[in-house]
């Protein structure tokens, strides 16, 4: 005996999602690599500035000595050399070395930050740890660490910065540290304790600043990363939901249409004489059954088509150049049976053009409008299809005109509504699903087309489709060589 256990506990799924969120607070390798490249380029900028300082020093050394920017040691040159070599090293490790245990984006970034901090500490030592703004450059590295690394790792960087700055301070005031705390009897020692207080003040103040900056920037960074992750997740969920929705629609259509297809297949057996002779009365009834079943089938397919069109947003569908003459030819081929059944005469006059849109949707739009023109014409009626291009404004129009039953003025505003059909239309065509023009509406929306409708009851209707930005025939011929329809010549009759 087989046993299967089922559980639809939604809480479990939510727990899995929130766990994933926490891990996602670190940046992934791809983003780290792009940050590394930016950091390397930024450092080249700093190296450039150092070279400028060095040139300035050669020209006017006194100014720089006055500002204590350089002294006897030629630190700009040394630091420039170290930073340049290091930068080249980082680049080499990133692009030319195989990734491994000792060569990963995280290690690369850590190396950069540590080397930078050492160099900065050397600069601060020579310029002055309290008298100049040099120490504030440490804050830049703390901020960068908050952006690149996780909260704990950026805290480690803040601690390293604090230690390095403290070492620099101590190196500068070595004498005052070596004196143990004792009663100050000798007045000469007064200045040392002043220096010591000065040292303590700066150490405390800047350490508070370092850790405050770490706290603020790391919090901000977490918030931004969490938002980004939530957006990415939401986007993925939407995509998945869209796919599932389409699959569901296809499945539903199939489930609804299959029984109808079975019924109609059996009817075809009767009609084809596979079940023996049938009386004329039975034959008539069978044909009516078949007609109603056919209408239902086409309604179901229209529903799926409409659903699919509504799902498509223009950002996701493939926008390609569509040659209008070819699209019209395809529609007319598809509609040939209906055209022949009613012996409709087609007058076609095309200025060919190319429009950038969703090919399938433009074809269904044209097909539905032409199909309506044929359906609502009388027997042996005329349907005109004309297209005109305005070379100056680079716009085009296609007009489909019939001389059939027309549309009442009070019905005209509603013709694009779903499931709408006027009583007059229903009388003429009892197979109408009311969806044909709603499909046209969605296709027009997705392709940024406008439609004008002019109609007079008993005289006919003209649908004009407005194309806003088209490519002209001369350009078509250049790009496509041959194959465009000559202006004015009928496409098909």
């Amino acid at each position: 005996m087989a046993i299967a256990k089922f559980s639809w506990n939604q809480n479990q799924q939510k727990a899995i999602l929130s766990r994933n969120n926490e891990n996602a607070c670190k940046l992934n390798d791809e983003i780290l690599i792009s940050n590394i490249r930016w950091f390397i380029i930024f450092r080249w900028g700093v190296i450039g500035a150092l070279i400028l300082i060095h040139i300035f020093a050669l020209i006017t050394p006194d100014t720089l000595i006055q500002f204590r920017i350089i002294e006897e040691n030629n630190w700009p040159l040394t630091i420039t050399l170290i930073l340049s070599l290091a930068n080249l090293g980082y680049r080499y490790a990133l692009d030319y070395c195989k990734p491994g245990k000792f060569n990963s984006p995280t290690i690369n970034l850590w190396t950069q930050i540590v080397v930078d901090l050492i160099c900065l500490s050397v600069v601060v030592h020579f310029i002055g740890s309290t008298a100049t703004p040099a120490p504030f450059f440490y804050i830049l590295h703390i901020a960068l660490a908050c952006i690149f690394f996780s909260t704990l790792e950026s805290l480690l960087v803040a601690v390293i910065v604090s230690i390095m700055y403290t070492i620099v301070l101590l190196a500068e005031y070595t004498l005052s540290i070596q004196i143990p705390q004792s009663i100050l009897i000798d007045p000469a020692l007064m200045s040392d304790s002043k220096i010591k207080n000065h040292l303590l003040f700066w150490m405390t103040a800047l350490n508070i600043l370092f850790f405050t900056v770490w706290y603020v920037v790391s919090r901000l960074s977490l918030v931004v990363r969490a938002h980004e992750n939530r957006l990415t997740e939401a986007y993925q969920q939407i995509n998945q939901a869209q796919q599932e929705k389409d699959q569901y629609a296809v499945l539903m259509t199939h489930q609804l249409k299959s029984p109808l297809d079975a019924i109609r297949s059996k009817i075809n057996l009767i009609k084809g004489g596979y079940c023996g002779e049938v009386t004329p009365e039975i034959d008539e009834i069978v044909r009516k059954i078949d007609q109603r079943a056919a209408n239902m089938a086409s309604l179901i397919l229209d529903l799926l088509r409409l659903q699919r069109l509504k799902e498509t947003c223009s950002c996701m569908a493939e926008i390609k150049p569509v040659k209008i003459s070819r699209a019209l030819q395809k529609c007319l081929e598809k509609l040939t049976p209906v055209i022949n059944t009613k012996s409709i005469i087609l007058n076609v006059s095309i200025d060919d053009f190319i429009y950038k849109g969703i090919r399938d949707q433009i074809e269904i739009l044209l097909e539905n409008i032409i199909s309506n023109a044929v359906t609502y014409s009388h027997h042996n009626g005329i349907v005109e299809i004309t297209s005109r291009v305005d070379a100056n404004t680079r716009t085009a129009t296609i007009t489909i005109t019939d001389h059939g039953i027309g549309i009442d003025p009070e019905d005209l505003p509603n013709i694009f509504n779903e499931y709408f059909y006027s009583p007059r239309a229903a009388l003429h065509n009892n197979a109408t699903s009311g969806l044909g023009l709603s499909i046209v509406k969605i296709a027009a929306q997705n392709n940024k087309l406008n439609i004008n409708v002019a109609s007079e009851p008993g005289k006919g209707t003209a649908f004009t489709i407005l194309f806003p930005a088209v490519q002209l025939p001369a350009i078509i011929e250049e790009e496509y060589g041959r194959g465009s329809a000559p202006i004015g010549r009928p496409l098909a009759e």
């Binding site: 699959q247 296809v250 499945l251 259509t253 199939h254 249409k257 299959s258 109808l260 297809d261 079975a262 019924i263 109609r264 297949s265 059996k266 009817i267 075809n268 057996l269 084809g272 596979y274 397919l301 799926l304 088509r305 699919r308």
Partner: protein, 128 residues
């Protein structure tokens, strides 16, 4: 020589309709409920059909397409015709799988159309 045609569809009425049409025309018809049964028969039976009529959505959304890929790879001589309820709505599913020309017919089964396409496909094999 009598041509053999295999037909896979989980709908009993469709199977009955196709069987009647094909047998009246003189074809030998073998029918299967699932793709798995059909593919298993290809492994065990000595004689293979000349043509297979496959329902696209039997067992699952794309069972027909997956089976086609397998059949075409192992037995390229067997011609295939797809039957689907979905008409050209099925196109997105086909576009991704194959660049080859694939014959797809929309249900319901129309005797004359079906027989015409079968004859065409069998003549194509003969010509090859």
């Amino acid at each position: 020589m009598t041509k053999k045609i295999a037909h896979v569809d989980d709908d009993a009425d469709i199977r009955d309709a196709v069987a009647r049409i094909l047998r009246k025309k003189g074809y030998e018809v073998t029918q299967y409920l699932t793709m798995r049964d059909f593919i298993a028969s290809l492994e065990t039976d000595a004689e293979h059909p000349d043509l297979a009529i496959l329902d696209v959505m039997v067992e699952s959304m794309d069972a027909g397409l997956t089976a086609y890929a397998e059949i075409h790879a192992r037995h390229p001589r067997i011609q295939t015709i797809f039957l689907t309820s979905l008409g050209d709505m099925i196109r997105p599913y086909f576009d991704k799988t194959s660049n080859e020309w694939v014959c797809v017919m929309e249900k319901p089964v129309e005797p004359d159309s079906l027989l015409g396409v079968i004859e065409d496909r069998l003549n194509y094999t003969a010509a090859q």
